[in-house]
Protein backbone atom coordinates (compact mmCIF):
# COMPACT_ATOMS: atom_id res chain seq x y z
CA UNK A 1 0.00 0.00 0.00
CA UNK A 2 1.40 3.36 -1.02
CA UNK A 3 3.20 5.10 1.86
CA UNK A 4 2.38 2.47 4.48
CA UNK A 5 4.84 2.72 7.39
CA UNK A 6 5.28 0.42 10.38
CA UNK A 7 6.96 2.27 13.24
CA UNK A 8 8.40 0.84 16.45
CA UNK A 9 9.20 2.78 19.62
CA UNK A 10 11.07 1.14 22.50
CA UNK A 11 13.29 3.85 23.94
CA UNK A 12 12.26 3.53 27.58
CA UNK A 13 9.44 1.71 29.37
CA UNK A 14 6.78 1.55 26.67
CA UNK A 15 6.80 -0.81 23.71
CA UNK A 16 4.71 0.73 20.97
CA UNK A 17 3.93 0.01 17.32
CA UNK A 18 2.00 2.13 14.83
CA UNK A 19 0.83 1.95 11.25
CA UNK A 20 0.68 5.22 9.32
CA UNK A 21 -0.40 5.94 5.76
CA UNK A 22 0.18 9.46 4.36
CA UNK A 23 0.45 11.10 7.80
CA UNK A 24 -2.72 9.45 9.01
CA UNK A 25 -2.51 7.12 12.00
CA UNK A 26 -4.17 3.80 11.22
CA UNK A 27 -3.20 2.26 14.54
CA UNK A 28 -1.02 3.24 17.48
CA UNK A 29 -0.68 0.56 20.12
CA UNK A 30 1.22 0.71 23.40
CA UNK A 31 1.96 -2.52 25.23
CA UNK A 32 -0.13 -2.60 28.36
CA UNK A 33 -2.27 -4.89 30.45
CA UNK A 34 -4.80 -5.64 27.68
CA UNK A 35 -2.18 -6.80 25.25
CA UNK A 36 -0.61 -8.98 27.92
CA UNK A 37 -3.99 -10.32 28.90
CA UNK A 38 -4.60 -11.37 25.30
CA UNK A 39 -1.40 -13.34 25.41
CA UNK A 40 -1.89 -14.61 28.95
CA UNK A 41 1.25 -12.97 30.33
CA UNK A 42 2.09 -10.69 33.23
CA UNK A 43 3.27 -7.13 33.18
CA UNK A 44 6.22 -5.69 35.03
CA UNK A 45 6.75 -2.35 33.33
CA UNK A 46 10.45 -2.01 32.93
CA UNK A 47 13.21 -2.97 30.58
CA UNK A 48 14.43 -4.85 27.60
CA UNK A 49 13.30 -8.36 28.42
CA UNK A 50 9.82 -6.88 28.74
CA UNK A 51 10.19 -5.23 25.34
CA UNK A 52 11.13 -8.60 23.90
CA UNK A 53 7.93 -10.10 25.25
CA UNK A 54 5.84 -7.15 24.09
CA UNK A 55 7.17 -6.41 20.68
CA UNK A 56 5.66 -9.27 18.72
CA UNK A 57 2.11 -8.95 20.13
CA UNK A 58 2.17 -5.18 19.85
CA UNK A 59 3.29 -5.18 16.19
CA UNK A 60 0.85 -7.95 15.40
CA UNK A 61 -2.05 -6.01 16.90
CA UNK A 62 -1.01 -2.75 15.25
CA UNK A 63 -1.18 -4.50 11.86
CA UNK A 64 -4.51 -6.13 12.67
CA UNK A 65 -6.08 -2.95 13.98
CA UNK A 66 -4.98 -1.04 10.89
CA UNK A 67 -6.23 -3.93 8.72
CA UNK A 68 -2.89 -4.00 6.98
CA UNK A 69 -0.94 -7.14 6.12
CA UNK A 70 2.81 -7.33 6.45
CA UNK A 71 3.04 -7.58 2.63
CA UNK A 72 1.55 -4.11 2.27
CA UNK A 73 4.26 -2.35 4.30
CA UNK A 74 6.52 0.02 2.40
CA UNK A 75 8.94 1.06 5.16
CA UNK A 76 9.98 0.13 8.70
CA UNK A 77 10.91 2.86 11.17
CA UNK A 78 12.42 2.54 14.62
CA UNK A 79 13.72 4.75 17.44
CA UNK A 80 17.50 5.02 17.20
CA UNK A 81 17.82 7.16 20.36
CA UNK A 82 18.01 8.73 22.84
CA UNK A 83 16.98 6.05 25.32
CA UNK A 84 18.10 3.04 27.24
CA UNK A 85 20.47 0.89 25.18
CA UNK A 86 18.90 -2.47 26.10
CA UNK A 87 15.42 -1.19 25.26
CA UNK A 88 16.48 0.47 22.02
CA UNK A 89 18.22 -2.71 20.88
CA UNK A 90 14.97 -4.67 20.97
CA UNK A 91 13.22 -2.20 18.65
CA UNK A 92 16.19 -1.81 16.33
CA UNK A 93 16.86 -5.55 15.99
CA UNK A 94 13.22 -6.24 15.32
CA UNK A 95 12.93 -3.46 12.74
CA UNK A 96 16.13 -4.51 11.00
CA UNK A 97 14.91 -8.09 10.93
CA UNK A 98 11.68 -7.18 9.15
CA UNK A 99 13.45 -4.74 6.81
CA UNK A 100 15.99 -7.38 5.79
CA UNK A 101 13.55 -10.25 5.37
CA UNK A 102 11.00 -8.17 3.46
CA UNK A 103 13.54 -6.09 1.61
CA UNK A 104 12.01 -2.85 2.89
CA UNK A 105 13.69 0.49 3.53
CA UNK A 106 14.75 0.98 7.15
CA UNK A 107 14.27 4.43 8.71
CA UNK A 108 16.04 5.48 11.91
CA UNK A 109 14.27 8.11 13.96
CA UNK A 110 15.41 10.50 16.70
CA UNK A 111 12.96 10.20 19.60
CA UNK A 112 13.20 13.90 20.51
CA UNK A 113 12.53 15.06 16.95
CA UNK A 114 9.62 12.64 16.81
CA UNK A 115 8.04 14.21 19.91
CA UNK A 116 8.02 17.52 18.03
CA UNK A 117 6.87 16.09 14.71
CA UNK A 118 3.85 14.54 16.44
CA UNK A 119 2.31 17.96 15.71
CA UNK A 120 2.18 17.03 12.02
CA UNK A 121 0.11 13.90 12.44
CA UNK A 122 -2.97 14.44 10.31
CA UNK A 123 -5.99 14.91 12.59
CA UNK A 124 -8.42 17.68 13.52
CA UNK A 125 -5.66 19.64 15.32
CA UNK A 126 -4.04 22.53 13.50
CA UNK A 127 -0.42 22.06 12.39
CA UNK A 128 2.17 24.58 13.56
CA UNK A 129 3.43 27.10 11.02
CA UNK A 130 7.18 27.01 10.33
CA UNK A 131 9.38 28.18 11.89
CA UNK A 132 8.16 27.51 15.42
CA UNK A 133 9.56 26.99 18.90
CA UNK A 134 8.81 23.75 20.69
CA UNK A 135 8.95 23.20 24.44
CA UNK A 136 9.38 19.46 24.97
CA UNK A 137 8.80 18.38 28.56
CA UNK A 138 8.69 14.81 29.80
CA UNK A 139 9.94 12.56 32.59
CA UNK A 140 13.30 12.24 30.91
CA UNK A 141 13.70 15.40 28.83
CA UNK A 142 13.28 19.18 28.90
CA UNK A 143 14.20 21.16 25.79
CA UNK A 144 13.41 24.31 23.87
CA UNK A 145 13.91 23.60 20.18
CA UNK A 146 13.80 25.94 17.22
CA UNK A 147 12.10 24.07 14.39
CA UNK A 148 13.07 25.52 11.04
CA UNK A 149 11.60 22.65 9.05
CA UNK A 150 10.54 19.09 9.73
CA UNK A 151 14.12 17.97 9.27
CA UNK A 152 16.03 21.02 10.42
CA UNK A 153 15.90 21.65 14.17
CA UNK A 154 18.18 23.37 16.63
CA UNK A 155 18.21 22.88 20.42
CA UNK A 156 18.23 26.34 22.00
CA UNK A 157 18.29 25.10 25.58
CA UNK A 158 17.83 22.01 27.72
CA UNK A 159 18.05 20.80 31.29
CA UNK A 160 21.51 20.43 32.73
CA UNK A 161 20.38 17.98 35.41
CA UNK A 162 16.83 16.79 36.18
CA UNK A 163 13.99 16.87 33.64
CA UNK A 164 10.84 18.84 34.52
CA UNK A 165 8.76 15.67 34.79
CA UNK A 166 11.37 14.20 37.10
CA UNK A 167 11.23 17.34 39.27
CA UNK A 168 7.47 16.83 39.62
CA UNK A 169 7.85 13.14 40.49
CA UNK A 170 10.64 13.70 42.99
CA UNK A 171 8.93 16.62 44.70
CA UNK A 172 5.91 14.36 45.06
CA UNK A 173 8.11 11.68 46.58
CA UNK A 174 9.41 14.14 49.19
CA UNK A 175 5.81 14.82 50.17
CA UNK A 176 5.24 11.06 50.45
CA UNK A 177 2.87 10.97 47.48
CA UNK A 178 2.78 7.72 45.48
CA UNK A 179 4.62 7.32 42.13
CA UNK A 180 4.18 8.77 39.56
CA UNK A 181 3.59 11.93 41.52
CA UNK A 182 3.35 14.41 38.65
CA UNK A 183 -0.36 13.93 37.89
CA UNK A 184 -1.14 13.88 41.63
CA UNK A 185 0.59 17.22 42.20
CA UNK A 186 -1.51 18.66 39.37
CA UNK A 187 -4.68 17.33 41.01
CA UNK A 188 -3.87 18.48 44.56
CA UNK A 189 -2.60 21.86 43.34
CA UNK A 190 -6.06 22.75 42.07
CA UNK A 191 -7.19 23.22 45.69
CA UNK A 192 -4.04 25.00 46.82
CA UNK A 193 -2.62 28.50 47.04
CA UNK A 194 0.29 28.68 44.64
CA UNK A 195 1.69 31.86 46.17
CA UNK A 196 1.86 30.52 49.71
CA UNK A 197 5.42 29.15 49.53
CA UNK A 198 8.32 30.29 47.41
CA UNK A 199 10.68 27.72 45.91
CA UNK A 200 13.64 28.85 43.90
CA UNK A 201 14.59 27.27 40.60
CA UNK A 202 18.21 27.63 39.57
CA UNK A 203 18.91 30.41 37.10
CA UNK A 204 20.81 29.11 34.12
CA UNK A 205 22.45 30.86 31.22
CA UNK A 206 20.64 31.20 27.92
CA UNK A 207 17.69 28.86 27.53
CA UNK A 208 18.99 26.09 29.78
CA UNK A 209 17.19 24.70 32.80
CA UNK A 210 18.25 23.27 36.15
CA UNK A 211 15.80 21.60 38.51
CA UNK A 212 18.12 19.85 40.96
CA UNK A 213 18.41 22.95 43.17
CA UNK A 214 14.64 23.09 43.49
CA UNK A 215 14.72 19.56 44.89
CA UNK A 216 17.32 20.54 47.48
CA UNK A 217 15.35 23.69 48.36
CA UNK A 218 12.21 21.65 48.97
CA UNK A 219 14.18 19.12 51.01
CA UNK A 220 15.57 21.73 53.41
CA UNK A 221 12.30 23.62 53.63
CA UNK A 222 10.35 20.47 54.53
CA UNK A 223 13.02 19.32 56.97
CA UNK A 224 12.81 22.60 58.90
CA UNK A 225 9.01 22.78 58.87
CA UNK A 226 8.53 19.15 59.85
CA UNK A 227 10.83 19.74 62.80
CA UNK A 228 8.40 22.41 64.05
CA UNK A 229 5.25 20.47 63.14
CA UNK A 230 5.43 16.76 62.24
CA UNK A 231 2.12 17.04 60.36
CA UNK A 232 3.25 20.02 58.29
CA UNK A 233 3.24 18.20 54.94
CA UNK A 234 -0.15 16.60 55.50
CA UNK A 235 -1.74 19.89 56.60
CA UNK A 236 -0.32 21.94 53.73
CA UNK A 237 -0.25 19.41 50.91
CA UNK A 238 -2.41 21.37 48.47
CA UNK A 239 -0.50 24.63 48.99
CA UNK A 240 2.83 22.82 48.70
CA UNK A 241 1.79 21.13 45.46
CA UNK A 242 0.47 24.36 43.99
CA UNK A 243 3.60 26.30 44.97
CA UNK A 244 6.01 23.67 43.64
CA UNK A 245 4.02 23.36 40.42
CA UNK A 246 4.12 27.12 39.98
CA UNK A 247 7.91 27.18 40.43
CA UNK A 248 8.45 24.52 37.78
CA UNK A 249 5.98 25.97 35.27
CA UNK A 250 7.27 29.52 35.82
CA UNK A 251 10.83 28.34 35.14
CA UNK A 252 9.72 26.70 31.89
CA UNK A 253 7.70 29.72 30.76
CA UNK A 254 10.47 32.17 31.66
CA UNK A 255 12.82 30.55 29.18
CA UNK A 256 10.16 30.03 26.53
CA UNK A 257 9.23 33.72 26.78
CA UNK A 258 12.88 34.68 26.50
CA UNK A 259 13.21 32.52 23.38
CA UNK A 260 10.11 34.13 21.84
CA UNK A 261 11.50 37.58 22.55
CA UNK A 262 15.00 36.82 21.22
CA UNK A 263 14.01 34.90 18.09
CA UNK A 264 10.84 36.81 17.22
CA UNK A 265 9.17 33.47 16.48
CA UNK A 266 5.53 33.53 17.57
CA UNK A 267 4.36 30.04 16.65
CA UNK A 268 4.79 27.88 19.74
CA UNK A 269 4.34 24.18 20.29
CA UNK A 270 4.24 21.98 23.36
CA UNK A 271 5.34 18.32 23.34
CA UNK A 272 6.06 15.46 25.75
CA UNK A 273 4.12 13.81 28.55
CA UNK A 274 4.23 16.77 30.98
CA UNK A 275 2.08 18.74 28.52
CA UNK A 276 -0.82 17.01 30.30
CA UNK A 277 -0.16 19.28 33.30
CA UNK A 278 -3.08 21.72 33.55
CA UNK A 279 -1.04 24.63 34.95
CA UNK A 280 1.51 24.27 32.14
CA UNK A 281 -1.24 24.12 29.50
CA UNK A 282 -2.88 27.23 30.94
CA UNK A 283 0.38 29.18 31.17
CA UNK A 284 1.32 28.07 27.66
CA UNK A 285 -1.97 29.03 26.03
CA UNK A 286 -1.90 32.38 27.87
CA UNK A 287 0.87 33.30 25.44
CA UNK A 288 -1.85 33.69 22.82
CA UNK A 289 -2.63 37.00 24.56
CA UNK A 290 0.85 38.10 23.54
CA UNK A 291 0.03 37.54 19.87
CA UNK A 292 1.51 34.04 19.80
CA UNK A 293 -0.17 31.02 18.23
CA UNK A 294 -0.01 27.94 20.48
CA UNK A 295 -0.26 24.29 19.50
CA UNK A 296 -0.72 21.24 21.73
CA UNK A 297 -1.09 17.79 20.15
CA UNK A 298 -3.58 15.18 21.33
CA UNK A 299 -2.36 13.68 24.58
CA UNK A 300 -1.98 10.19 23.08
CA UNK A 301 0.71 11.66 20.81
CA UNK A 302 2.47 13.46 23.70
CA UNK A 303 3.56 10.48 25.78
CA UNK A 304 5.99 7.97 24.23
CA UNK A 305 4.24 6.34 21.28
CA UNK A 306 5.07 4.90 17.87
CA UNK A 307 2.79 7.18 15.83
CA UNK A 308 5.26 10.01 16.40
CA UNK A 309 8.07 7.74 15.16
CA UNK A 310 5.99 7.05 12.04
CA UNK A 311 5.38 10.72 11.26
CA UNK A 312 9.09 11.46 11.66
CA UNK A 313 9.81 8.56 9.30
CA UNK A 314 7.33 10.02 6.81
CA UNK A 315 9.48 13.14 6.45
CA UNK A 316 12.75 11.19 6.37
CA UNK A 317 11.40 9.01 3.55
CA UNK A 318 10.34 12.14 1.64
CA UNK A 319 13.91 13.38 1.75
CA UNK A 320 15.34 9.97 0.91
CA UNK A 321 17.06 9.35 4.25
CA UNK A 322 17.20 5.57 4.33
CA UNK A 323 19.31 3.80 6.96
CA UNK A 324 21.71 0.93 6.33
CA UNK A 325 21.45 -2.51 7.93
CA UNK A 326 24.50 -1.54 10.01
CA UNK A 327 22.32 1.07 11.76
CA UNK A 328 22.61 0.82 15.55
CA UNK A 329 20.97 2.48 18.56
CA UNK A 330 22.51 5.63 19.98
CA UNK A 331 21.50 5.97 23.67
CA UNK A 332 22.57 9.62 23.95
CA UNK A 333 21.53 10.71 20.45
CA UNK A 334 21.27 14.49 19.95
CA UNK A 335 18.71 16.36 17.88
Amino acid sequence: MKGCILAIESSCDETSAAIMINREVKSNLIANQTIHADYGGVVPELASREHQKNILPVVDQALKKAKVSIDELEAIAYTKGPGLLGSLLVGSSFAKGIALSRNLPLIEVNHMKAHILAHFIKDENKEPELPFLCLTVSGGHTQIVKVKSQLDMEVLGETLDDAAGEAFDKAAKMMNLPYPGGPLIDELAKKGNEDRFKFKVGEMEGYNFSFSGLKTGILYFLRDEVKKDPDFIEKNKADLCASIQKSIVDALMLKLNKAVKDTGITHLALAGGVSANSKLRAAFTELEEKACTCYIPKFEYCTDNAAMIAIAAHYLIESGEIAKQASAPEPRMKI
Binding site: C12, L46, L84, H141, L160, D162, L219, R223
Partner: protein, 145 residues
Protein backbone atom coordinates in the same frame (compact mmCIF):
# COMPACT_ATOMS: atom_id res chain seq x y z
CA UNK B 1 34.26 -1.30 55.74
CA UNK B 2 37.15 1.07 56.23
CA UNK B 3 36.54 4.80 56.52
CA UNK B 4 39.01 6.68 54.34
CA UNK B 5 37.92 10.23 55.09
CA UNK B 6 35.22 12.34 56.64
CA UNK B 7 34.78 16.01 55.88
CA UNK B 8 32.20 18.75 56.05
CA UNK B 9 32.47 21.19 53.15
CA UNK B 10 30.49 23.67 51.11
CA UNK B 11 29.68 23.23 47.44
CA UNK B 12 32.15 25.95 46.51
CA UNK B 13 34.98 24.07 48.19
CA UNK B 14 33.96 20.77 46.65
CA UNK B 15 36.37 21.03 43.72
CA UNK B 16 39.35 20.80 46.04
CA UNK B 17 37.71 17.91 47.88
CA UNK B 18 37.13 16.01 44.64
CA UNK B 19 40.69 16.55 43.50
CA UNK B 20 42.29 15.65 46.80
CA UNK B 21 40.01 12.96 48.15
CA UNK B 22 37.60 11.52 45.61
CA UNK B 23 39.80 11.05 42.56
CA UNK B 24 42.15 9.00 44.74
CA UNK B 25 39.31 6.53 45.22
CA UNK B 26 39.84 5.20 41.72
CA UNK B 27 43.10 3.67 43.00
CA UNK B 28 40.97 1.39 45.17
CA UNK B 29 38.08 0.66 42.84
CA UNK B 30 36.36 1.88 39.69
CA UNK B 31 33.02 1.26 41.34
CA UNK B 32 31.73 4.12 43.46
CA UNK B 33 28.39 4.20 45.22
CA UNK B 34 26.86 7.54 46.25
CA UNK B 35 24.37 7.44 49.10
CA UNK B 36 22.23 10.24 50.47
CA UNK B 37 18.62 11.35 50.50
CA UNK B 38 16.87 12.96 47.57
CA UNK B 39 18.21 16.46 47.05
CA UNK B 40 21.43 15.75 48.97
CA UNK B 41 23.47 16.41 45.83
CA UNK B 42 24.47 12.99 44.47
CA UNK B 43 24.02 13.91 40.81
CA UNK B 44 25.65 17.28 41.38
CA UNK B 45 28.74 15.63 42.89
CA UNK B 46 28.91 13.10 40.05
CA UNK B 47 28.68 15.95 37.52
CA UNK B 48 31.71 17.54 39.13
CA UNK B 49 33.69 14.30 39.22
CA UNK B 50 32.94 13.77 35.52
CA UNK B 51 34.14 17.29 34.86
CA UNK B 52 37.46 16.42 36.47
CA UNK B 53 37.68 13.25 34.41
CA UNK B 54 37.32 15.37 31.28
CA UNK B 55 33.88 14.06 30.30
CA UNK B 56 32.58 16.26 27.49
CA UNK B 57 29.03 14.90 27.21
CA UNK B 58 26.43 16.65 29.35
CA UNK B 59 26.09 14.82 32.64
CA UNK B 60 22.43 14.77 33.65
CA UNK B 61 20.25 12.71 35.92
CA UNK B 62 19.75 9.16 34.61
CA UNK B 63 16.63 8.61 36.74
CA UNK B 64 14.56 8.13 33.61
CA UNK B 65 17.12 6.39 31.44
CA UNK B 66 18.55 4.27 34.33
CA UNK B 67 22.09 4.56 32.98
CA UNK B 68 24.02 7.23 31.10
CA UNK B 69 27.26 6.51 29.32
CA UNK B 70 30.10 9.01 29.06
CA UNK B 71 33.76 8.83 28.14
CA UNK B 72 36.67 10.49 29.89
CA UNK B 73 39.38 12.59 28.28
CA UNK B 74 41.55 9.44 28.28
CA UNK B 75 38.82 7.54 26.48
CA UNK B 76 37.73 5.44 29.44
CA UNK B 77 34.04 4.53 29.64
CA UNK B 78 31.94 5.87 32.52
CA UNK B 79 28.54 4.42 33.42
CA UNK B 80 26.35 6.67 35.55
CA UNK B 81 23.52 4.66 37.11
CA UNK B 82 20.39 5.69 38.94
CA UNK B 83 18.35 2.83 40.40
CA UNK B 84 15.72 5.13 41.85
CA UNK B 85 12.93 3.67 39.71
CA UNK B 86 13.98 0.05 40.24
CA UNK B 87 11.64 -1.78 42.58
CA UNK B 88 12.74 -5.39 42.11
CA UNK B 89 16.29 -6.63 41.52
CA UNK B 90 14.81 -8.56 38.57
CA UNK B 91 14.23 -5.31 36.73
CA UNK B 92 17.92 -4.45 36.97
CA UNK B 93 18.79 -7.90 35.58
CA UNK B 94 16.31 -7.27 32.79
CA UNK B 95 18.34 -4.40 31.45
CA UNK B 96 21.56 -6.34 31.75
CA UNK B 97 23.06 -4.61 34.77
CA UNK B 98 25.62 -7.35 35.40
CA UNK B 99 27.23 -6.71 32.04
CA UNK B 100 27.73 -3.06 32.93
CA UNK B 101 29.01 -3.89 36.45
CA UNK B 102 31.45 -6.54 35.18
CA UNK B 103 32.92 -4.26 32.53
CA UNK B 104 36.18 -2.46 33.11
CA UNK B 105 34.38 0.87 33.02
CA UNK B 106 34.08 3.39 35.83
CA UNK B 107 30.70 2.92 37.51
CA UNK B 108 29.15 5.82 39.44
CA UNK B 109 26.00 4.61 41.15
CA UNK B 110 23.03 6.42 42.70
CA UNK B 111 20.23 4.71 44.65
CA UNK B 112 22.28 1.52 45.01
CA UNK B 113 19.97 0.66 47.94
CA UNK B 114 17.54 -0.77 45.40
CA UNK B 115 20.03 -3.28 44.02
CA UNK B 116 22.12 -3.91 47.16
CA UNK B 117 22.69 -7.61 46.53
CA UNK B 118 24.08 -6.97 43.05
CA UNK B 119 26.86 -4.60 44.12
CA UNK B 120 30.42 -5.90 43.79
CA UNK B 121 32.15 -6.60 47.09
CA UNK B 122 35.03 -4.32 46.40
CA UNK B 123 33.77 -0.78 46.03
CA UNK B 124 34.05 2.75 47.37
CA UNK B 125 31.10 4.26 49.17
CA UNK B 126 30.47 8.00 49.45
CA UNK B 127 27.86 8.95 52.00
CA UNK B 128 26.41 12.47 51.69
CA UNK B 129 24.64 13.93 54.73
CA UNK B 130 22.86 17.23 55.11
CA UNK B 131 24.22 19.60 57.73
CA UNK B 132 22.58 22.48 59.57
CA UNK B 133 23.84 24.91 56.95
CA UNK B 134 22.08 24.62 53.61
CA UNK B 135 25.15 24.90 51.44
CA UNK B 136 27.30 22.47 53.43
CA UNK B 137 27.38 18.69 53.20
CA UNK B 138 29.18 16.05 55.19
CA UNK B 139 30.97 13.51 53.01
CA UNK B 140 32.19 10.17 54.32
CA UNK B 141 34.29 8.07 51.99
CA UNK B 142 34.80 4.43 52.84
CA UNK B 143 36.27 1.36 51.23
CA UNK B 144 34.18 -1.77 51.14
CA UNK B 145 36.09 -4.97 50.42
Amino acid sequence: MQVLSNSSISLEESSKFIEQELLGCFDHSNFIVFRGQMGAGKTTLIKKICNFLGVEESVSSPTFSLVNQYSTAKGQLVYHFDFYRIEEVEEAFDFGVEEYFDSEAICLVEWAENVEELLPNKRVEVQIELTLEEEKREYTISLHS
